[in-house]
């Protein structure tokens, strides 16, 4: 049995959507057991089953807008997020899924789960949408603001194994996010990373990729430092949302426009769904001695279920040990 810890209190619609997502996972995935960490009184009304699922009472929560996430985690060891994370260190569970505050989850995972032996830095790796429909891994979307090229290479190993084992991509290509496609473009960091990636044989290095191609990249994994990749992710989010608002403003105009909009409703909904984080699943935190998945804060039950499914897959495919193995081999 794969044991999943669910932070039932994190997220905009907690605990309802988290508990319903967990119920869905219990029903659809046969080899998992779930422990819900949270407020029993708030959780119970949404619990329709007690098979392979139990509640552990927590106290207090980590606020979504927490300014000092490290302090928040340290001073709230009984919070649902902290308890779920600690249960992985104690081997009570194999994985954690949380929609709680990202920075608190990264900090908490670092402190309470601990780093894996071979990786010196953690990183957060969301999967972003693409025109072709293929999943694309973006990292580091918010872990390390300043980073060395060798740690970026470790992240590339992790993403490569993840893409193979979890996303089913046979030979995942790695691209470095840069302001131009030519060799030697960008800052010193980008040039050093390029040289390091190019000579490495454990990854399939594509080269530099401009974010003009962010929704249609010639690779499966897009890597940069935690500042740059986070800027890419937030610009992508902001543009997609903003373009949606502008589209709505324009489509409503005039009588034929309104009629056209009415007829296009179903297609527009599908379009919106394609860009929705719900459909894409959670972001994995790389570099930990356990599996931690960050589901979107706005996750509804399906989104949260997808996070649980993803967590179970990562455990089942033994991803972390496989990464440890590659880094140790390469380090020789």
């Amino acid at each position: 049995m794969i044991k999943i810890a669910v932070d039932a209190m994190g997220g905009d619609f907690a605990p309802k959507e988290q508990v319903q997502g967990a119920m869905m996972a219990i029903k659809l995935i046969q080899d998992i057991e779930i422990t819900l960490y949270g407020d029993e009184l708030a959780i119970k009304p949404h619990l329709t089953n007690s098979e392979r699922i139990r509640i552990v009472q927590s106290e207090g929560t980590i606020d979504m807008g927490e300014k000092d996430p490290i302090r928040a985690i340290r001073s709230n060891r009984k919070s649902s997020m902290a308890m779920a994370l600690s249960s992985v260190r104690n081997k009570e569970n194999d994985a954690v899924v949380s929609s709680g505050a990202t920075q608190a989850l990264i900090a908490g995972a670092h402190i309470l789960v601990g780093r894996m032996k071979a990786m010196k830095r953690t990183a957060i790796a969301p999967v972003i949408p693409s025109i072709s429909g293929k999943p694309v891994i973006l990292l580091d979307a918010g872990g390390n603001i300043e980073i060395k090229p060798e740690f970026m290479l470790h992240q590339a190993y992790f993403a490569t194994i993840y893409a193979k084992e979890i996303l089913g991509i046979e030979s995942p290509k790695v691209g470095l996010i840069n302001i131009g496609t030519e060799d030697g473009k960008g800052r010193q960091l980008d040039q050093d990373a390029f040289a390091l990636f190019k000579e490495n044989t454990s990854i399939d290095f594509f080269g530099n990729v401009e974010p003009k191609a962010v929704l249609d990249p010639p690779c499966d994994i897009l890597i940069s430092d935690g500042f740059t990749a986070n800027i890419v992710m937030k610009t992508l989010e902001g543009t997609a949302k903003g373009v949606g608002v502008m589209l709505k403003q324009e489509l409503k105009r005039g009588f034929f426009g309104k009629l056209g909009l009415l007829l296009s409703m179903k297609n527009l909904k599908r379009f919106k769904k394609r860009l929705s984080p719900e459909e894409i699943g959670g972001a994995m935190i790389y570099g930990l001695n356990g599996v931690v998945i960050k589901a979107q804060g706005s996750s509804k039950s399906v989104g949260f279920y997808n996070g649980i499914r993803q967590a179970a897959n990562v455990v089942r495919q033994d991803v972390i040990n496989k990464v440890n193995h590659v880094i140790e081999k390469e380090g020789e």
Copy 2:
């Protein structure tokens, strides 16, 4: 009379659209004279007027995909771009408008026009679209990959004066692009720039802005180093384009969808226009001892005309001297 040098040979549709744009400018703006630099034989067929407009023959062009823009400019002094730029240094013209290769234009402007006394770095500042329709200045979109906070402040002065004098924004607000809105976020550079901007009284500093708000920012000017701002611009471009492709794919589906699409055509065209660089005008290169406007490479006549209009405005409002003045005053 304001004298404008037009690089007639740069851009995807040169010289036709450039010449037609220039003709439009001559017709609509009474106080300008235009010199077209380019191949007389290719230009002539599109020239419908000879009042306040003349041709100066050039030789050779700067390739759009030029790998070494500095070398390209140095070894093509008779190219239309180089001749147009040199004419500003020689005081034959007040401003240059070109749709040629961006990096070559920046390098060429640096070498052939020269830096203004007070600014130590050049920067390129496109105007990006927004949901509300207000113009937003983004910089540095590709000049300086690594930069000091004091040079970013000089750019903020320039953008503030530009926004006031050219865009008609009474009290332009300056935001720093960052991965979070709180004070103290980001890299050392971002933290240092924040401190410097905060204590300055010549700009109206808003604080940090996340690129989630790139199409709806709480400020009029978005600043970061040339790597980061270029990443934002390219992610914005790529996402807007990619979302458009996905939208088209979805809207076409089914009978009602096709009918809806047909009825929405007019509105969709207007939507596309709102995101089009044509409508927004050219990017100005800040920090030069003359006015240089980069029109989009894909400019059609209206887009190129907008670049000329913009160049004439910058000359008319004496923007460069006003910026020199502020930097000298602040430097005391």
